[in-house]
């Protein structure tokens, strides 16, 4: 999958062999090919977005006003930030670690291990959240029981109900679910680093840390960017895990924007739903623009 000299649309058009395509590809063709997907996206995404934005504008900003008048809005924004940053950073860390471990030449049965560590990602979200809620429970939780038995803690930790740690607990679950995705992406890059380059580095006397710093890290730079942005967008729209485990509690200490949106949705409060959605869209678009930028630099570097 890894080519160092991939031509891209841009380069291909700019350089000679291109005419053959120009001759064949009439100007209508690309649009016709994209049309089904674009139409679908338009129907499924554009119309709702436009409707939402229009609704927010036509109600004279009362929805937004009410949103920012909510007593806990500051806390919700802060929670959203902590949750997003924390779960992205955690997933990157565990994902990288996992990918490095699984790429080790000393391991056997790599295929099996890789399949096993992927399970958290392919398990349905509702199921994952339910199991974790069960495992972290104060009354019946296996984690507390195990820690008690080992003598690590003296009394059960209220993982999901202590306002000081609840956000960390739910972020851990999100990390558990999304880290395999990073592992997968990074594994693919690592497997693409030519063995000769690593050998050459070793012959030059480079140790593990140097190889990591000078060969591996630069190779996965773009992937890191892509992963972070994808993870950030997932975290920003993620709802199931928090909803199932804490419903945003206690006292709103794990409430993030999507939870707020869902609560408004449940109350049939369309004005507030639209307002939250627009805020989420704005933040999301910032990510999307970054995403597009990264992809573009990626493409340009490849030429």
């Amino acid at each position: 999958m890894i080519q160092t000299d991939q031509p891209t649309p841009a380069s291909a058009v700019a350089h000679p062999p291109a005419p053959s395509r120009r001759r064949r590809g009439g100007s209508g063709q690309p649009v016709a090919l994209i049309l089904p997907a674009a139409l679908l996206t338009a129907v499924l995404m554009l119309i709702p977005i436009v409707t939402t934005v229009i609704r927010v504008i036509t109600d004279g900003g009362t929805g937004l006003q009410r949103l920012f008048d909510l007593p806990n809005i500051g806390q919700v924004m802060l929670n959203t930030l902590i949750w997003t940053v924390g779960s992205v950073a955690g997933a990157l860390f565990i994902g990288y670690l996992g990918a490095l471990v699984l790429s080790s030449k000393r391991l056997r049965l790599v295929g099996l291990w890789r399949a096993l560590v992927m399970i958290p990602w392919i398990i349905p979200g509702v199921v994952a959240a339910t199991v974790w809620r069960w495992a972290l429970s104060t009354d019946y939780g296996l984690l507390n029981q195990t820690l008690l038995d080992l003598g690590v803690i003296g009394e059960p930790v209220r993982w999901l109900s202590n306002p000081d740690i609840v956000l960390i607990s739910v972020a851990l679950i999100q990390i558990w679910v999304t880290a395999p995705f990073v592992m997968l992406m990074v594994s693919a890059v690592l497997s693409g680093i030519p063995e000769e380059r690593l050998e050459a580095a070793r012959i030059d006397g480079a140790g593990g840390p140097q190889i990591l710093r000078h060969i591996i890290l630069p190779a996965i730079r773009t992937t890191t960017a892509i992963c972070s942005l994808t993870l950030a967008i997932w975290a920003l729209n993620s709802f199931t895990i928090i909803f199932v485990t804490t419903s945003g509690g206690p006292a709103g200490s794990s409430t993030i924007l999507p939870i707020l949106l869902y609560q408004a949705f449940q109350n049939g409060d369309q004005a507030l739903v639209s307002a939250v959605a627009v805020v989420q869209l704005l933040i999301g678009s910032v990510f999307a623009v970054f995403f597009a930028r990264t992809m573009r630099t990626d493409i340009e570097e490849q030429t």
Binding site: T138, D139, S161, G249, A251, G252, Q263, F265, G268
Partner: protein
């Protein structure tokens, strides 16, 4: 342009897939038009489904020109689906919905007026007190309630005996005192549902507040700071001080029941289903009226009703079905708690000894729960205020002031 074999194959497969999907859509789109004019669709929750099948058979025998199609909903999906269906205008003809949500739909003009159904077959005064009023807006009644219930206090007599307490608490002071006595070792006096749906906690809060001077007017609570502070003390401070379970933050109604069944929670306000569950599990159980400041407290009635969407094309047939479902014997058959009509309560399944406290609570110390959507919209905020007290971040008095502000603002909107 000649195609190579694999290209032809590929194009063929894609073409066939596209045509297949397209054709199915067309067939579906045109097929739906031939919808039978005499078929009434009824969205029924899965827990009522089996009884509903039997009742529908009788109904169809009585009304040979009407067919009823039953569609099951589940507790987790009924609210979303009903809201989306009503908003979109593509609705079934009869829906079993929670009474708490009905006013919200009615405010958006999404429900048919069912006032004409009431009368000889369905006398308004046969329904639980205040119930029909709660479903009436500007003279139009938008639902026929069939199920009605309140919470009462359920307790574990064995734990009470072990703690040297002879009687269930009748007042708030006794409730607190008993709970403190009962809290030892693995056992806590009581627990509150602080996880999951915000309305579980606010329902209990409001029960206590209503017992101490708060009222409900036109579906909206009128609170006083004094009553709120007293209620928050029983819930929030109780957890903070430890005579209600610290794990309350992780418990929903089901979680508390499980702890009760294991003898780890000594008493708690609960619905009649929890009584049945305890009896079935062979756990020690007895019931009493909810405690109030100085005597029996007030409990809110909550329940389920039948609604007919304004967008239904078959309102006449739908109303016939609703009227039929409103008859006492059908009401009794479909009710897991208590029937909404007094004349249906004679059924032996409503008169067991453990149910006596519930019947009394319902008949003498109950009011319909608030159902104004403006109140529903602030439940989460009220819920969070109570939790702050439980976490020790706020005093009961300060939280009561905040809740008063929330409620006043809601009423003025």
């Amino acid at each position: 342009m000649a195609m190579k074999p694999r290209t032809a194959l590929f194009a063929g497969v894609v073409g066939a897939a596209v045509i297949g999907i397209g054709a199915t859509i067309v067939v579906n789109a045109s097929g739906g038009a031939a919808d039978d004019q005499n078929t009434v669709t009824w969205w029924v929750p899965d827990w009522d489904y089996q009884e509903a099948v039997k009742i529908v058979e009788t109904f169809e025998a009585d009304n040979p020109d009407i067919k009823v199609e039953l569609v099951q909903t589940t507790g987790d999906t009924v609210a979303n689906r009903t809201a989306v269906a009503l908003d979109s205008g593509n609705t079934p003809d009869v829906i079993t919905e929670s009474i708490a949500r009905i006013r919200g739909y009615a405010d958006k003009d999404q429900l048919a007026d069912l006032s004409t159904l009431y009368g000889q077959d369905l006398p308004e005064d046969d329904f639980a007190p205040g119930l029909i009023d709660a479903l009436t807006v500007d003279g139009a009644t938008y639902a026929v309630p069939y199920r009605w219930a309140t919470n009462a206090l359920i307790y574990n007599p064995a734990l009470f005996q072990a703690a040297g307490i002879d009687e269930p608490p009748a007042t708030w002071a006794e409730f607190e005192e008993d709970a403190k006595k009962l809290t030892q070792g693995n056992v806590v006096g009581t627990a509150w549902p602080m996880q999951g749906d915000a309305s579980d906690l606010t329902l209990r809060f409001l029960d206590f507040a209503l017992s101490d001077g708060a009222t409900i007017e036109n579906g909206l609570p009128k609170l006083t700071e004094k009553s709120s502070a007293g209620a928050i003390n029983l819930i929030g401070d109780a957890i903070n001080e430890g005579w209600a379970s610290k794990s309350s933050f992780e418990l929903d109604n089901t979680g508390i029941r499980e702890l009760f069944l294991q003898g780890r929670v000594a008493m708690y306000p609960a619905g009649v289903f929890d009584v049945d569950a305890a009896l079935e599990a062979g756990a020690p159980i007895a019931t009493a009226a909810l405690p109030g400041p100085d005597g029996p407290g007030t409990a809110q009635g909550v329940g389920w009703a039948y609604i007919v969407p304004q967008a239904s094309q078959k309102k006449d047939a739908a109303q016939k079905l609703v009227s039929f479902l409103g008859q006492p014997e059908n009401m009794a058959a479909l009710t897991l708690t208590f029937p909404a009509r007094v004349s249906a309560s004679d059924d032996p399944k409503f008169t067991t000894p453990e149910r006596a406290a519930y019947a009394e609570q319902l008949a003498e110390h109950s009011v319909p729960a608030p159902n104004d959507p403006r109140w529903t919209a602030v439940l989460q905020q009220v819920h969070d205020e109570i939790q702050k007290v439980a976490l020790g971040d706020k005093s009961a008095a300060a939280a009561a002031t905040s809740i008063q502000e929330i409620a006043d603002k809601t009423a003025s909107n």
